[in-house]
C-alpha cells in the first residue's frame, strides 16, 4: 500500500443559489494516475479549482490534506509552491512568444530581473527532452500544433518541480497519436514518482492508464474504483446514475437518392499558396443518410468542410458542388446557407456562438429572414422559435435569455445545432459534434442527428472518435493528408479497417 499524497475531505462549495460541490471526498496516492470522471457540470473542474487555490481557502468548506499537512491555499501561486500544477483545458500559452519563453513565463531564469537567455534555452531544451518534444526552444508557440503545445504546457509544469500534476481534459483536442503519446508520458512520470490527476471524458483512455478512478456526479463523489474493477460500462453507469443500454440510439435508416455531391475539390492552404491541403476530393451524401469522415487530426477534414461552406477556409479553391444533380455556387456563406447547406463548427466558442449574447439571439442569427419582414424582426415569432428549438434540442437553461457563455459544453453545442436546425438546411455538416461533452449530452445529440436523418436530411459527420462514427453513420469516408483514401458502409467498417486504410495510404505516400 503506497502512501496517500492528497486527501480532500468533505469539500463543499456553494455559489449563490447553487451547491456546486457537496461533501466530496478524494484521496490520491503517491505516484499513481488518478482519473476523475463525470458528466459536464458534475463539478470536476470546480473541485480542481478548490484544490489549486483558484477558489481561496475559506470560500469552501472541508479540508485539503497534502503530504500529511492541512493546506490553506490562497491562490494558484500557493499551490504551485507546493508542487501542485494544473493544466487547463484551454491552453494558457502566449502564442507569439517562443517555447522557451513560455516554459519560464512567470518563473524566468533571471538574475535581478535580467533574463539569462542561455540558461532559459538550455533549461527549456532539457525539459523538452523530458516530455519527448523535439522542437527548437526558440520556435514560436503559434507555429507548433496543439498536441505539441500541450507538451509545452507539461514542460512548463515540470519546470516548477511538479509533484502533483492535474490535467483537465488534456486530450480533448489531440489526435489519437498525440493522445497516446501524452498518456505514455503520464505513465513515464508515474515511474519517476510524479502523481497525476487526469480529468477526461474519454473513457477508453482513462481505463487504459488510470490506477484508480473517482466518479463525480451532481457535485458528489460517487465511488472510487480500483484498476481491477474498471470497465467502461461500470463507469458510465456510475456517471449518469443509470445504465445506458446503448451509447448510440437505434435507428432504421431510410436512404434515398443522392442529394449532395462534391466533385474534384481542391484547396490550398490559407497562408501558404503552394501547399495543397485538399486534393481532388469527391464525396456524395444521399437523402436520409448519415455519412462520416474519419481521419487523423490534421488530415484536412475541417479544412475541407469549411472551404465547402462559403470558402471559409483556404484559397485557390476549385471543384464543383451539386445539389439534387444541379450545380450550385457555395462561394459565400450566405449563398451556401441559401442553398440549404449548414456547417456546425468543431470549435463552438470561436466559430459557433456569440458567447456574450443569450440563447434566443444565437438561435436565430443564421436565419433572421425567417423571423423578419423587410428587415424588421417579429420579436414574438423569435421568442416562439427560440423556445421551440430549446425544447427540441433539450437545452438546459433557466430561459432563452441565458447567456450562452454560461452554458455547459453540451448545452452550447445544442445551441449551435438549434441555430442550424432553424436555418432548415438540406445538407448538414457536423464537425466534431460531441467534442468535449459528456456521455448523456452525446446521446441526446445522436438522437437529434437520427431525427434529422429520419426527416430526410443529408448529414455529414466529421469525428475523431471512431466508435462514434461507427455508432451513428451509415457510410464512412476515410481521409488522410487531404485525400479520400477509403470508403465503406459502416456495417462493414471497424476501427481496425479504418486505421488500415489510413496506414496503407501513408505507406503509399512515402
Amino acid at each position: 500500500m503506497t502512501k496517500t499524497i492528497l486527501e480532500m475531505r468533505s469539500i463543499t462549495k456553494t455559489f449563490p443559489g447553487v451547491k456546486a460541490l457537496s461533501d466530496v471526498n478524494l484521496d490520491v496516492r503517491e505516484a499513481e494516475i488518478h482519473a476523475i470522471v463525470g458528466e459536464n457540470g458534475a463539478g470536476k473542474s470546480t473541485l480542481m479549482k478548490v484544490l489549486s487555490g483558484v477558489y481561496p481557502s475559506g470560500s469552501y468548506d472541508g479540508q485539503i490534506i497534502y503530504k500529511g499537512e492541512e493546506q490553506h491555499f490562497k491562490s494558484i501561486r500557493d499551490s504551485e509552491h507546493k508542487g501542485i500544477v494544473i493544466i487547463h483545458q484551454e491552453l494558457a500559452l502566449v502564442p507569439l512568444l517562443s517555447i522557451a519563453e513560455n516554459i519560464f513565463l512567470g518563473n524566468e531564469q533571471a538574475r535581478a530581473g535580467v533574463i539569462d537567455w542561455d540558461e532559459t534555452r538550455d533549461g527549456a531544451g532539457k525539459l523538452l527532452g523530458m516530455v519527448g518534444l523535439n522542437e527548437d526552444p526558440n520556435t514560436l508557440v503559434t507555429n507548433i500544433g496543439v498536441g505539441k503545445q500541450q507538451l509545452v504546457e507539461i514542460a512548463k509544469a515540470l519546470s516548477k518541480e511538479v509533484k502533483l500534476l492535474i490535467l483537465d481534459e488534456p486530450t480533448a483536442s489531440l489526435s489519437e497519436k498525440d493522445s497516446a503519446a501524452l498518456l505514455d508520458l503520464l505513465m513515464e512520470f508515474r515511474k519517476q514518482g510524479i502523481t497525476s490527476i487526469l480529468i477526461s471524458h474519454k473513457l477508453n483512455e482513462v481505463s487504459k492508464v488510470a490506477d484508480r478512478i473517482t466518479v463525480i456526479r451532481d457535485g458528489r463523489s460517487i465511488e472510487t474504483l480500483n484498476k481491477e474493477d474498471i470497465t467502461e460500462d461500470r463507469i458510465i453507469t456510475l456517471m449518469v446514475g443509470r445504465s445506458l443500454e446503448d451509447r448510440y440510439p437505434a435507428r432504421v435508416p431510410q436512404i434515398g437518392d443522392v442529394v449532395f455531391e462534391v466533385k474534384d475539390w481542391s484547396v490550398y492552404h490559407q497562408l501558404h499558396r503552394e501547399r495543397q491541403v485538399i486534393k481532388n476530393i469527391g464525396i456524395n451524401i444521399r437523402k436520409g443518410e448519415v455519412v462520416g469522415i474519419a481521419g487523423l487530426m490534421g488530415s484536412g477534414r475541417t479544412e475541407f468542410a469549411m472551404s465547402l461552406f462559403g470558402k471559409s477556409y483556404g484559397q485557390r479553391i476549385s471543384g464543383e458542388v451539386y445539389l439534387h444533380g444541379k450545380k450550385i455556387d457555395t462561394s459565400t456563406v450566405e449563398k451556401a446557407v441559401a442553398h440549404g447547406i449548414a456547417y456546425a463548427t468543431e470549435d463552438r466558442k470561436t466559430y459557433g456562438l456569440n458567447l456574450i449574447d443569450h440563447i434566443k439571439h444565437n438561435t436565430t442569427i443564421a436565419n433572421l429572414t425567417g423571423i423578419s419582414r423587410v428587415g424588421v424582426i417579429d420579436d414574438m415569432a423569435e421568442m416562439d422559435v427560440a423556445n421551440e428549438y430549446r425544447k427540441k434540442t433539450n437545452i438546459r437553461s433557466s430561459s432563452v435569455y441565458q447567456v450562452t457563455g454560461n452554458l455547459s459544453g453540451g448545452n452550447q453545442q445544442k445551441v449551435v445545432l438549434s441555430k442550424w436546425l432553424f436555418a432548415n438546411p438540406e445538407v448538414l455538416i457536423l464537425d466534431e459534434p460531441t467534442r468535449g461533452i459528456d456521455v448523456g449530452a452525446k446521446y441526446e445529440i445522436y438522437t437529434i442527428i437520427n431525427n434529422l436523418a429520419a426527416q430526410g436530411k443529408a448529414i455529414l459527420v466529421i469525428s475523431s472518435e471512431m466508435p462514434e462514427l461507427l455508432g451513428i453513420t451509415d457510410r464512412v469516408y476515410v481521409m488522410n493528408e487531404g485525400r479520400i483514401v477509403g470508403e465503406m458502409p459502416t456495417s462493414e467498417a471497424s476501427q481496425e479497417k479504418i486505421m488500415r486504410s489510413i496506414v496503407r495510404a501513408e505507406g503509399k505516400a512515402s
Partner: protein, 427 residues
C-alpha cells in the same frame, strides 16, 4: 464551470417549461444597469439643482442643455453602432468640423457663378454636407472593412486629415453668419400652431406662466403612444406566456417615465417650446432604438461585435455591415457638424476638435463594452446627458475648467468601474 454546475444533470428539465415570474426586486436587479443609469442622471441633476440654487431646472437652462448637447447625442448614436461592432471612430470631431466649414463655404464663403448659385441654398447645401459626411465615413469604412486596417488607425488618420482640411478651406478664418433658414436648425423652435395657453396671468409679484401648447400636445401624444405600445407589447407577451416583469413594476415604470416626459415638456413649454433640434434628435433616437432592437441590420451588428468569426460563419456579410456602420457614422457626424455650426452661427477652424472624446465617453458611460457586442442606444443618450448636465452645472457653479475636466474623467472611470463590478458580481 461555475454556472455549469448550476444545472446539475438531467433533473432540471421539469422546471424550465413554466415561465418564471420574477419578483419585483429580482426584476429591478436584472435591469439594475438600465435603471441605475437613469437614476444616476436624475441624482446628478438634483445635485446641481441644489448647488446652482435652482438654476439648473429653469426652463431656459433645460432648453440650453438640450441645445448644447444635441450634436454630441447625434454622434453618440452612430458611435454606439461603431463601438458595438467592435470598432472605434476617432475622426468624428474633425469630420463634424470639416462639414461645418464646408456648409459655411457653400452658403456664404464661396461665390458661385449664377448657374451654380443653387448650391448655396441652405437645403441643397445641407444635403450636400450629409452626402459628403456619409462618403467620408464610407471611405474610412471601406479601408477598415475590406482592407482590414484597424479602425483606430484609419480614423486617427482621418482625424488629422479633416482637421487640416477644415483649416484649409476656411483659410484659417471664421466664416459666417449663416442664412436664417440654416440657423433655425439649432436656434429655432417649432411654431405654436395651436397658440399659447396662459396658466398664470402676469400680475404684481407673480411670474406669468404661459405654455407653448403645441409642445404639450406633442408630449401628451407621445406619452399616450408610448403607453399604448407598452401595454400592447405586454399583453402580447402575456398571451404567449413570455412575460416576466411583475405587473406592479410595469405600472410604476411607465408612470415614472410618463411623469418625467411630462415634466420636461412642461419645462420646455414654459420657455419657448420644443427646439427644432430636439425634434430631429428625438426622431433619430427613436430610429436608432428601432434599428438596434428590432431590425435585422441592428441584430447583425451585435452579432458581429460579439463574435466576428461566428457571425461570418452564420452567413452575415461582416465586411459590408462594417462599411455601412462607418458610413452612417459619417452622415451623423456631418449632421452634428451642421448643428454645431448653426448654433455658433459661424464655422471656425477649431470647431469640432475633441468632440470625439466626449462622444466616446458618452457611449462608454452608457454601458457599451470596449470589446464590442454590448451597448444600448438609451444608455448612450443618457450617458451623453450625464456629461452634458455636468458640464452645464459645473459651469453655472463656476467650477474652473481644469477641475471640470478632472471630474468628468473620474465620472467616466467610475461608470465603467461600476459596470464591470456589477458584471463580475452577477457572473
Amino acid at each position: 464551470m461555475t454556472t455549469e454546475t448550476a444545472q446539475p444533470g438531467i433533473t432540471a428539465t421539469g422546471e424550465q417549461a413554466k415561465v418564471q415570474e420574477l419578483t419585483v426586486w429580482g426584476a429591478l436587479q436584472a435591469n439594475l444597469r438600465d435603471y441605475g443609469l437613469l437614476l444616476a442622471l436624475i441624482l446628478i441633476m438634483l445635485f446641481f439643482q441644489y448647488f446652482t440654487a435652482g438654476v439648473l431646472f429653469k426652463p431656459v437652462n433645460l432648453t440650453n442643455i438640450i441645445l448644447q448637447n444635441s450634436y454630441i447625442i447625434v454622434m453618440a448614436l452612430g458611435m454606439l453602432l461603431v463601438i458595438v461592432a467592435g470598432h472605434i471612430d476617432l475622426s468624428v470631431g474633425s469630420i463634424s468640423g470639416f462639414v461645418g466649414a464646408l456648409a459655411a463655404m457653400l452658403m456664404v464663403g464661396w461665390r458661385f457663378p449664377p448657374e451654380l448659385a443653387f448650391l448655396a441654398n441652405p437645403f441643397v447645401a445641407g444635403a450636400i454636407c450629409l452626402v459628403v459626411g456619409a462618403a467620408i465615413g464610407a471611405l474610412q469604412g471601406y479601408l477598415i472593412a475590406y482592407h482590414k486596417i484597424p479602425s483606430f488607425i484609419v480614423t486617427l488618420a482621418g482625424m488629422l486629415i479633416f482637421k487640416g482640411l477644415s483649416l484649409a478651406i476656411l483659410a484659417g478664418k471664421s466664416v459666417g453668419p449663416f442664412p436664417a433658414e440654416f440657423q433655425l436648425l439649432s436656434a429655432g423652435f417649432i411654431p405654436d400652431i395651436i397658440g399659447p395657453t396662459t396658466l398664470v396671468a402676469a400680475s404684481e409679484g407673480v411670474q406669468p406662466v404661459v405654455l407653448h401648447t403645441t409642445t404639450m400636445v406633442i408630449a401628451i401624444v407621445a406619452i399616450v403612444a408610448m403607453v399604448f405600445f407598452a401595454i400592447r407589447g405586454r399583453s402580447r407577451r402575456l398571451a404567449r406566456g413570455y412575460e416576466s416583469e411583475p405587473f406592479g413594476l410595469f405600472i410604476v415604470k411607465n408612470l415614472v417615465i410618463a411623469a418625467l416626459v411630462l415634466f420636461f415638456a412642461y419645462m420646455l413649454a414654459s420657455y419657448r417650446g420644443l427646439p427644432n433640434v430636439l425634434v430631429v434628435m428625438g426622431l433619430l433616437i427613436a430610429l436608432f432604438v428601432f434599428i438596434t432592437k428590432r431590425m435585422t441590420f441592428g441584430r447583425r451588428i451585435y452579432a458581429l461585435g460579439g463574435n466576428l468569426k461566428a457571425a461570418a460563419l452564420s452567413g452575415i456579410k461582416t465586411e459590408r455591415l462594417t462599411f455601412y456602420v462607418f458610413a452612417i457614422m459619417g452622415a451623423l457626424a456631418a449632421l452634428a457638424g451642421m448643428i454645431y455650426a448653426a448654433r455658433l452661427n459661424s464655422a471656425t477652424p477649431k470647431a469640432g476638435q475633441g468632440l470625439e472624446l466626449d462622444v466616446i465617453a458618452a457611449v462608454f458611460i452608457g454601458g457599451a463594452s470596449a470589446l464590442g457586442g454590448v451597448g444600448q442606444v438609451a444608455g448612450a443618450v443618457i450617458g451623453a446627458f450625464i456629461m452634458g448636465v455636468m458640464n452645464n452645472g459645473m459651469s453655472i457653479m463656476g467650477v474652473n475648467i481644469d477641475w471640470q475636466q478632472m471630474i468628468k474623467g473620474v465620472v467616466l472611470l467610475a461608470a465603467v468601474f461600476f459596470d464591470l463590478y456589477n458584471k463580475n458580481r452577477s457572473a
